[in-house]
């Protein structure tokens, strides 16, 4: 292989431009360091009219927004999906894992749910609490100052609730609940389930002059042209460029490996320029991996050298191990009282206005760890699929299903907004036997060895999913509703989604004090190498029943501060 060498030398190369990479870019460049950001996809700016999908109508797409091109629909802002052409992954027999990747500046932050929850004190010390899994080497108080800073820099709405394991932050005001959410609140509280305003990184109020305020189109999944939601490009990388930092963006640049000198110290990366297909080498004093938990593990495992024969930072043999995703199960209910609704603009923010944090004590339950409940429904915008099976709900009134004619039109209007959905998203237990590794045979189209996944759920997760469904049914009935479909039984894994499906994969480069039992230390630095850091969700020891992004951001900031400090002490 012929490798072209760039004459440029950087202080830091950051691999990946999502939440972790974006935060590192901002903090490191604003500290005066010269930074290169490697992104495997094209440039993306939600304010670029040629890339925008926000505020488009379904009929502006020839497929009315169907998911034949982008799996979550035409207007979803992710250039990626479960399967990328030329970039395969494999699964070991008898196991399952779905891996969602997005190749674009900002990565998956351009379309995510903006659910921005802090981990609580219990979440960092799970083993001490229930004897399962492992404790983090750091605790809530180590991360709290960074959560505070992330809240103020990026903006998150919510409410002060004084719940020990759901720490409050610096919140913007919450939007009022929608009608179906008030029904949910009534039904859930009757079932003893706590309900509170949701916590989403969407600007209900101005926080600075560079970003706009939410205009309530419900389309955060399309990435906001006014920069009123958190996307890594619009909130971290562009501001870093604007504030005069030395940031070079390398787009369509697929990192193959981290390179090392004769002593095993990192000195840069080799990457493929996807446009030309040529290999390049780039030098830096420090390498920060933020390519996503599984991609960073893959890069490290593929970075073999005489000093690091099993992959960079892999003397413990633990890179790729302890992979875990959130648990997930969903249910819908039909609420007859929500038929024939008076129509008004109910778009609201892109996501639920209220939700339920974990409300029980596992001591009284047959599984460890909890879940939160997300709510959906309302008078949403029609797109592909709207109007399918227009009168299936007739079955609850003993009326005929199917047919044709004007009746179909009135059936659609009658049932519009009468179905409410619930999604449980919970914590799974990190296990050493759930992992990704390098497939010994398969390579991607650039000849880079690909990942093979080994992942099975345990009884803990199955029992949790069963509990979710029991709760959903109780809430739906309490709302005056009728659960739709059958409650999934044991034969269907209690409706538990395939691992990876919730897109919260974490844990592949776990954090710890003991180099034999972990890959990175408390500052996300490889135990084996002093100048390589991992700032995506790879270092997560456990993932809580919270979405990972806010913790990725806080830890990346904390690690970046540490890197700046080490530069000041001339340790690189």
């Amino acid at each position: 292989m012929y490798i072209l060498k760039s004459s440029k030398k950087y202080d830091v190369i950051i691999v990946g431009s999502g939440a972790g990479g974006g935060m590192a870019t901002k903090v490191l460049s604003e500290a005066g360091l010269k930074v290169a950001v490697m992104e495997a996809g094209p440039h993306f700016d939600p304010a670029n009219p040629d890339q925008q999908t926000q505020l488009k109508w379904a009929y502006e797409s020839p497929r009315r927004g169907a998911g034949t091109q982008r799996v979550f629909g035409d207007y979803d802002m992710a250039y990626g999906g479960w399967d990328l052409e030329g970039e395969p992954y494999t699964k070991a027999e008898g196991t399952g894992f779905n891996w969602y990747r997005s190749r674009m500046l900002g990565g998956r932050t351009n379309h995510w749910g903006r659910i921005s929850l802090r981990f609580g004190p219990l979440d960092f010390k799970s083993k001490s609490r229930d004897g399962v899994g492992e404790d983090w080497p750091i605790g809530y108080n180590d991360v709290k100052p960074y959560y505070d800073k992330v809240d103020k820099l990026i903006g998150v709405f919510g409410s002060k609730e004084n719940i020990y394991n759901e720490p409050d932050g610096f919140f913007l005001p919450a939007p009022k609940p929608r009608l179906h959410e008030l029904y949910y609140k009534k039904g859930a509280e009757k079932a003893g389930v706590k309900v509170m305003p949701s916590r989403l990184s969407i600007l209900t109020k101005r926080i600075n002059d560079d970003r706009g305020v939410c205009f309530y189109c419900n389309q955060c999944s399309r990435s906001c042209m006014a920069y009123a939601d958190f996307s890594s490009g619009s909130c971290l990388i562009f501001p870093a460029q604007k504030s005069g930092g030395q940031v070079d963006l390398y787009t369509n640049a697929m990192v193959r490996e981290v390179t090392v000198d004769g002593n095993g110290k990192a000195n840069g990366v080799n990457y493929i320029d996807k446009d030309s297909g040529l290999d390049y080498s780039l030098k830096a004093k420090v390498v920060v991996l933020a390519a996503s938990a599984c991609s960073s593990a893959r890069i490290l495992l593929n970075s073999k050298s005489a000093v690091h024969p099993n992959g960079l930072g892999n003397s413990s043999g633990l890179i790729g191990k302890y992979l875990h995703d959130s648990t997930g199960a969903d249910r819908m209910g039909f609420v007859p009282n929500l038929m024939n609704r008076k129509i008004y603009n109910e778009d609201g923010v892109g996501g639920m206005h209220l939700y339920s944090p974990w409300w029980l004590d596992n001591k009284d339950l047959d599984f460890a760890r909890g879940y939160h409940i997300e709510v959906w429904g309302g008078l949403g915008a029609p797109s592909y699929g709207f109007g399918f099976n227009p009168n299936d709900l007739n079955r609850f009134f003993g009326e005929r299903i199917g047919g044709y004619g004007d009746g179909l039109r009135s059936d659609v209007k009658k049932y519009y907004g009468s179905v409410v959905g619930m999604s449980g998203r919970g914590e799974s237990i990190a296990r050493i036997d759930n992992y990704c590794e390098i497939d010994p045979e398969k390579k991607d189209k650039w000849g880079i060895p690909v990942l093979r996944f080994n992942y099975t759920w345990s009884d803990e997760e199955l029992k949790q999913a069963r509990h979710m469904h029991d709760t959903f049914e109780e809430i739906i009935v309490n709302m005056g509703g009728i659960p739709l479909g059958d409650k999934p039984g044991k034969d269907k894994n209690y409706g538990l989604h395939t691992p990876g499906a919730i897109i919260h994969e974490v844990g592949t480069t776990r954090m710890g004090d003991d180099p034999k039992k972990s890959v990175v230390n408390a500052f996300e630095k490889l135990h084996d190498v002093d100048n390589v850091f991992v700032v995506d969700a790879g270092p997560f020891v456990s993932q809580a029943d919270k979405n990972p992004t806010w913790t990725i951001l806080a830890l990346s900031w904390r690690t970046s501060d540490y890197i700046v400090d080490q530069f000041k002490q001339q340790n690189f």
């Binding site: 963006l249 005929r400 004007d406 179909l408 039109r409």
Partner: protein, 232 residues
């Protein structure tokens, strides 16, 4: 090496994909150019090339499209706001058949069987049938729970057609107006209208009042005290 300028990159992609059309007839090219203008939303160069390739192909024959249109009107008759043609449902079904090839065989076969049945029962094509003759043919396949097992394939065909017609209509400009959907525009959410809350016997909890946004203060820059209480 400067690959930072995404605007140029995307624009180059647009031009590159339009060169794919040089082999087309002039009328075809004009048709696609109009579609390009019409279907203007952020797509990657690869996605746009896929769409353009599809728009330049024709799957259904003129006769099949006429039958789709006729059947579409039968499934959902028009009203004062619009109809399935104003909603461009036939063009949408033509596109979906190419965009999602598993639709092709059941749709083509179903249309053919429908016409064959019309001819064997009434010696006329489906299009030429009276409303009551159409009902006589469609009733046995329009209600899945009641239909005969032998008609399974035609029941699936009709269900697919109904789904495509209904979603095609209600995702169109006229269909969205007909439905009454009022969003997809900049606005300020300040809760469910009072009369709707009353109608449903709901109210915003008094103890939550302080948690909610005061919409008049939304443009005032947020500031907090050291305990995280918003002071602006």
């Amino acid at each position: 090496m400067n690959r930072r300028d995404s605007l140029k990159y995307i624009a180059a992609g647009t031009f590159a994909s339009s060169f794919l059309l040089t082999g087309c007839e002039w009328a075809e090219e004009e048709k696609v150019t109009q579609s390009l203008w019409k279907y203007k939303y952020g797509r990657t160069p690869k996605e746009m090339a896929h769409d353009n390739a599809i728009l330049a192909q024709q799957f259904f024959t003129a006769e099949e499209l006429a039958l789709i249109t006729n059947l579409g009107h039968f499934i959902l008759p028009g009203n004062e706001i619009g109809d399935i043609e104003k909603a461009e449902v036939p063009a949408f079904i033509e596109f979906m058949a190419k965009d999602y090839p598993p639709f092709q065989e059941p749709l083509r076969k179903g249309l053919k069987t429908l016409n064959e049945t019309a001819n064997s029962s009434f010696s006329k094509d489906f299009i030429a049938l009276s409303e009551s003759e159409k009902k006589e043919l469609i009733d046995p396949i329009a209600y899945p729970d009641e239909a005969a097992e032998a008609l399974k394939d035609q029941v699936s065909f009709f269900t697919l057609m109904r789904n495509l017609v209904m979603t095609g209509y209600f995702t169109s400009e006229v269909g969205i107006k007909d439905l009454g959907y009022l969003g997809n525009q900049p606005n300020v959410w300040d809760g469910v209208p009072e009369e709707v809350l009353k109608e449903h016997g709901m109210a915003y909890p008094a103890e939550w009042e302080s948690k909610f946004l005061d919409i008049t203060e939304r443009n005032t820059k947020a500031e907090w005290d050291s305990d995280g209480n918003l002071i602006t």
